[in-house]
């Protein structure tokens, strides 16, 4: 098959010479996305059953465990896919992590999920050791970022290390080893996840958008300027610390507004010199991540200043389901196209996936204003969420299960 050389064909120097690697284990992202998309749907259904009391899980505090799983359970999958796929590209010479070893690590993630859902029966320690081992392995895998002399991507490693500390702290509280407010630690962790995502997005943006511009023959260069991202990271970190130490204090509210504005400022990168790219679907998709993160912080800030933060729980879904959820979907879309040897494509299905997530978030957050219809909105939100990942399965399952379209290994 003759096809012009695609960007991501130079994403590694050596491919391991393990024999008989099935396509679904041929590269780090493949097994993860094959599991993560169905898991997003399955877990949503399980949460509905758990919150409504049909299945008697998480007897101690279901809300805390919900936040934990949606923060760390999904994060480890996302980070695993992102790093096993991206690191060999960032550090040429690194051998891709594939085959049997990949299978065992993915099984570790699955074991982490099983131990989580059955935590009432197997206990906190089993879930803690499996899940911490998972994140610990990811950090071990990403150690090159920190040991790199030029420190180009070290921030990713440090952010992961901070998250490991936060997860260990959370489990220590849950296992009654130390005193503390588990929910406050989880909120802090969400801040850390946002920081990690901002760091990762800067790299994803540079890769994806420039590839897109080259692909479409648009003569412009997109540059993601570090100061804008760094300012947003600084503001988000300040707010997260403020929220931990002084929850619902007015100063924390202003810090949230600052974080919101700083996140919106990043979107100025899309205003490139010598060109107009705001009409490109992927630019709008990626831009909507910043928009939702910004709206989340801004609304939480407004809520703290005017209503002592009573709606923060609902509004936070703009950050988590919206900003973070869209980031996972975007990573799944971009890697799903490019690293299966295809052009970065937008079609009706990709529009529908992004819009479904957006509708899911709007329904979830709409509960603040339409409390009387809360049940309907919860249901609609879950439905839209499942639709997004259902569409993903339909579009990408065949790609993930087949060898690369351009015949390259991986």
């Amino acid at each position: 098959m003759s096809q012009e050389k695609l960007h991501a064909t130079n994403h590694y120097l050596y491919y391991p010479d393990e024999e008989n690697i099935p396509p679904y284990l041929a590269y780090g992202f493949r097994p993860i996305f094959l599991l993560l998309a169905p898991y997003m749907i399955l877990s949503m259904l399980l949460w509905i059953l758990a919150f409504s009391g049909v299945i008697p899980f998480f007897s101690d505090d279901i809300l805390v465990w919900h936040v934990y799983e949606m923060t760390f359970g999904i994060l480890t999958a996302g980070a695993l896919a992102f790093l096993t796929t991206g690191l060999p590209e960032l550090f040429p010479g690194m051998v891709p992590f594939v085959g049997k070893r990949l299978k065992y690590i993915v099984l570790l993630w699955v074991a982490g999920r099983v131990s989580f859902w059955f935590i009432d029966f197997t206990g906190v320690f089993v879930a803690a050791s499996l899940n911490l081992a998972m994140l610990g392995w990811i950090i071990y895998f990403a150690k090159d970022t920190v040991f790199d002399k030029l420190q180009r991507h070290a921030s990713l490693g440090y952010a992961l290390a901070v998250l490991f500390g936060l997860e260990a702290w959370f489990f220590a509280i849950q296992a009654s080893l130390i005193e503390g407010d588990a929910m406050a630690v989880l909120k802090l962790s969400i801040g850390a996840v946002v920081v990690l995502i901002l760091l990762a997005l800067r790299r994803v943006n540079m890769e994806a958008i420039n590839e897109l511009l080259e692909d479409k023959g648009i003569d412009a260069v997109y540059i993601s300027r570090p100061p804008l991202t760094n300012f947003a990271i600084f503001a988000v970190a300040l707010f997260s610390l403020g929220e931990y130490f002084f929850p619902n204090n007015s100063t924390t509210g202003w810090l949230a507004l600052a974080a919101g504005a700083a996140l919106l400022a990043i979107t100025n990168d899309y205003n490139v010199k010598d060109g107009f790219i705001l009409n490109q679907p992927y630019v709008l998709y990626l831009g909507s991540i910043y928009l939702f993160l910004a709206l989340g912080y801004a609304f939480i800030g407004w809520d703290i200043l005017t209503a002592q933060g009573v709606h923060a729980n609902h509004l936070r879904h703009l950050i988590t389901a919206g900003g973070i959820g869209l980031s996972y979907l975007m990573v799944m879309l971009i890697i799903g196209w490019i690293h299966t040897g295809r052009h970065l494509t937008s079609n009706l299905a990709t529009h529908a996936m992004v819009l479904s997530i957006i509708f899911a978030v709007l329904c979830r957050v709409g509960i603040v204003w339409f409390e009387a219809h809360a049940m309907v909105l919860y249901a609609l939100s879950a439905l839209f969420w499942c639709t997004a990942f259902g569409l993903y399965i339909k579009q990408f399952m065949p790609f993930l299960l087949a060898p690369r379209a351009d015949g390259v290994k991986g």
């Binding site: 300040l238 100063t251 202003w254 810090l255 400022a265 205003n271």
Partner: protein
């Protein structure tokens, strides 16, 4: 026309680029809020309280009149400074002798603290509009003057020679050769002078009049109304930021674009 169209076209994205600045301002407000919680309302009212006072003030008829009075004074003073400064600066720029003569005088004008001018003006004109307008003119004139002097002095001799040898008609010579160059110096000077005028007008009003924003500030001070004083400060800063960054800066960017 094309120029105006380009400014309007770039305007929405220009406005959007302000989010970073807004973020910094919010961080500053957070610091202010922390200060309020530490020192209490008398020393430093909370930002929220200040903004509430501000909203009340803006609906108050007297305050609207005060704002108008101050704007008028600043406008008249700034207008005179611009007309005088620009025309005299141009004249001085075209004649080497005049330029040489005017330098030391401008240095004296720039070096004189505005507060001294207010005292002198109060002796000369008494308490009232003239004192304020005079001080504004005297403080902002040198800035405009130096700007337009520089603009004229730095005209590219080769370019004007070329214009002469091609026998360009006078209007082309003016609009295509001289004007863009001089304007790119004069306009930023106007912006700087406006900032100066706005600061001076408040100070002069505070000391020398019984109406206007500056006078309201004096009243707030005597009544220990910290929230009111801060609200006035917010009005002053917000109006300056609006004029400078929303109206003038986009024009300035276009004007200076050719230089880089």
């Amino acid at each position: 026309m094309k120029f105006l169209f380009k400014i309007l076209k770039d305007f929405p994205l220009y406005l959007w680029s302000g989010w970073g600045a807004i973020g910094s301002i919010f961080l500053f407000i957070a610091l202010w809020d922390a200060g309020h919680q530490y020192y209490g309302s008398l020393v430093l009212p909370s930002p929220l309280e200040t903004f509430t006072t501000l909203l009340g003030m803006l609906q108050d008829k007297e305050m609207q009149e005060a704002i108008q009075t101050t704007l008028t004074r600043a406008g008249i003073g700034f207008g005179i400074a611009v007309i005088l400064g620009t025309s005299l600066g141009l004249l001085a720029g075209f004649f080497m002798t005049a330029s040489m003569m005017s330098r030391p005088i401008v240095t004296i004008l720039v070096g004189m603290p505005p507060i001294v001018w207010i005292v002198l003006a109060m002796i000369w004109f008494g308490m009232g509009d003239e004192t304020v307008v005079f001080t504004v003119v005297v403080a902002s004139f040198p800035i405009v003057f130096v700007g337009s002097l520089q603009g004229t002095r730095t005209l590219d001799g080769d370019l004007s020679e070329m214009a002469r040898s091609f026998a360009l008609p006078w209007h082309m010579k003016f609009f295509d050769v001289y004007f863009p160059h001089i304007f790119s110096y004069v306009f930023p000077a106007w912006v700087a002078a406006l900032g100066m005028a706005w600061k001076i007008v408040i100070m002069a009003e505070l000391l020398a009049t019984s109406d206007g924003l500056g006078a309201s500030l004096a009243v707030a001070r005597s009544q220990l109304d910290t929230a009111g004083a801060l609200a006035l400060v917010v009005i002053m800063i917000a109006s300056l930021l609006f004029i400078e960054y929303v109206i003038l800066e986009p024009i300035k960017r276009e004007v200076e674009l050719w230089r880089s």
